[in-house]
Amino acid sequence: MDADAKPLPRITQDNRPFWEACRRHELRLPHCTACERAFWPPSPLCPHCFEPAVEWRRVSGRGTVSSFVVVHQKWFPAFAADIPYNAVQVELEEGPRLTSSLVGIANDEIAVGLAVEVVFDDLSEEITLPRFRPRP
């Protein structure tokens, strides 16, 4: 790992559709076509009903902050300039929770339950990170 760069997502065969959708500025999650539920992390089977019937569907991108932290310690040199920065978990309207970060809000205004929506941060040609911002 390059110590001077921010780490990039580790793209695997299983999560590739997620990251390819992010590049197109779409949030997509695996859904079971048998029980119609969305789930995370990716799996070739539905973790709820065990059917191997998975389809990547676009989701609303809306959710609420289910928890958050504010990082004050420098672990990665590449994040030093961002300190203190937030990291959050967002519970999407479709159910699954994603880890991400919030933009467009001061750290001391973040609260559990805050309504948020997805925005896309293009890090490079290949990688786009989903982040979230407060919903009006």
């Binding site: 390059d2 519970e91 880890t99």
Partner: protein, 411 residues
């Protein structure tokens, strides 16, 4: 010879290698020897030197020789600790049973349980559980760019997510504590009681690294690491080694020290309701929401030991971060969901209280030997060798983690 069989449920015997073996491992294995190197920060000794010191002490403690050890169980190898093969070559051991788990605190219990099962199944006579850590030389690995463990997790059950700068285990514990505070109204002042209590225990332990009392004011003034966690919510980053020798109960009875029996065990839990740093139901990662009280299968350790939870004289846990103490109390039913922060007040988890926790000071204030320093303390307590920290008349002590595994020990 077939050890005593405890009949717990249904058919509990199997036919193995021409002998009838008990399926239950209740009291079939015991800890016969313990050794702890010196503990400190930035120690000059290598991991091998620290391990050698602890190993020799453990053999001497048990009255065993090097040649008696034919098994190794290691929960903490490269890149943070010593691997089993290096230990065996360096110490000139002749090993016929090995267990090594990936470098992670979550496998402490499994490593001990594997040792107990190996000696009970006749796969080894004496298994040495060896842990050597020099965390003060491993800062790059602990949440930094060298932390492949954090990178592996990628938002997994430990909570790391490096692209968002959530690179260290403290982040997962902080996510859990923030939600716990939001759901149940727990406060920093309540959480401080964990840190202050563990420190008070360390002050009674001459081996402990922390030597000065911790006040609420000190705690609240300490710097934020990953809010809501402060410096004193995080355990020590330290160096040291521990060795625990496990043998059959039968053999342990003939050795130098009184045996400390492994009476009950239950394993590491995994599934969508599990997040390493949170009790089920808290709502981190994909955990279902809602308070969860322990189900019977989450209390197997007591059933196997044949006791009620109320017979546990003290609880020992992997206190890498102070919230883990709250969560393990709820996970095992000592406190109701959402109530542990209030439950621990007024000396309840201090020596002399209803349920002392980590009486040597734990990872928080004694040293971070991946929890094995607390296993050593359990043995001292049950032998009556804990000096000013001795819990009078303790018969059953419990090791348990927030990730759900546990061992009940009996004197």
């Amino acid at each position: 010879m077939v050890p005593m069989v405890s009949r717990l449920r249904g058919s509990d015997e199997v036919y193995l290698c021409g002998r009838v073996m008990p399926v239950s491992f209740k009291d079939t294995a015991a800890i016969a020897g313990i050794g702890l190197s010196r503990l400190g920060r930035h120690l000059p000794e290598s991991q091998l030197e620290l391990a050698a010191s602890a190993f020799r002490q453990a053999l001497d403690d048990a009255g065993l020789s090097r040649d008696d050890v034919d098994g190794l169980s290691v929960n903490f190898g490269w890149p943070l600790g010593l691997d089993y093969d290096r230990i065996a070559e360096s110490f000139g051991l002749d090993i016929r049973y090995v267990n090594q788990t990936w470098t992670h605190g979550r496998f402490v219990t499994m490593s001990l349980q594997n040792a107990a099962m190996a000696v009970s199944a006749g796969l080894a006579d004496v298994v040495a559980c060896v842990t050597a850590a020099s965390f003060t030389r491993a800062r790059e690995i602990l949440g930094g760019p060298g932390d492949m463990e954090g990178y592996r997790e990628e938002g997994g059950t430990h909570g790391e997510n490096p692209p968002y700068g959530l690179t260290a285990p403290a982040g997962g514990a902080a996510l859990a504590m923030r939600r716990y505070m939001a759901l149940y109204g727990a406060t920093a002042e309540q959480l401080a009681t964990v840190a202050i209590t563990l420190r008070s225990h360390a002050l009674l332990n001459p081996n402990a690294i922390q030597k000065t009392p911790l006040t609420l004011a000190d705690y609240l003034a300490s710097r934020l690491v990953v809010a809501p966690l402060r410096l004193f919510d995080c355990c020590l980053v330290s160096d040291g080694a521990a060795v625990v020798l496990v043998t059959s109960a039968e053999r342990a009875r003939d050795l130098k020290q009184p045996p400390v029996y492994i009476s009950g065990m239950q394993g590491l839990r995994s599934g969508r309701d599990e997040f390493i740093f949170a009790p089920p139901g808290l709502g981190i990662n994909q955990q279902g929401p809602g308070r969860v009280t322990p189900k019977p299968r989450d209390q197997d350790v007591y059933a196997m030991a044949g006791i009620d939870r109320g017979e546990i004289a003290a609880l020992y846990t992997y206190d890498a971060f102070t919230p883990l103490v709250l969560f393990v109390l709820e996970r095992f039913g000592f406190a109701q969901p959402g109530e542990a922060a209030a439950w621990i007040q007024d000396g309840r988890i201090a020596l002399g209280g209803e349920l002392p926790v980590n009486t040597s000071g734990g990872l928080h204030s004694e040293a971070h030997v991946s929890g094995w320093n607390s296993i050593v303390e359990i043995v001292r307590q049950l032998r009556g060798q804990a000096g000013p920290r001795q819990i009078g008349g303790a018969e059953f002590l419990q090791w348990a983690t927030v990730w759900g595994d546990s061992v009940v020990f009996r004197r």
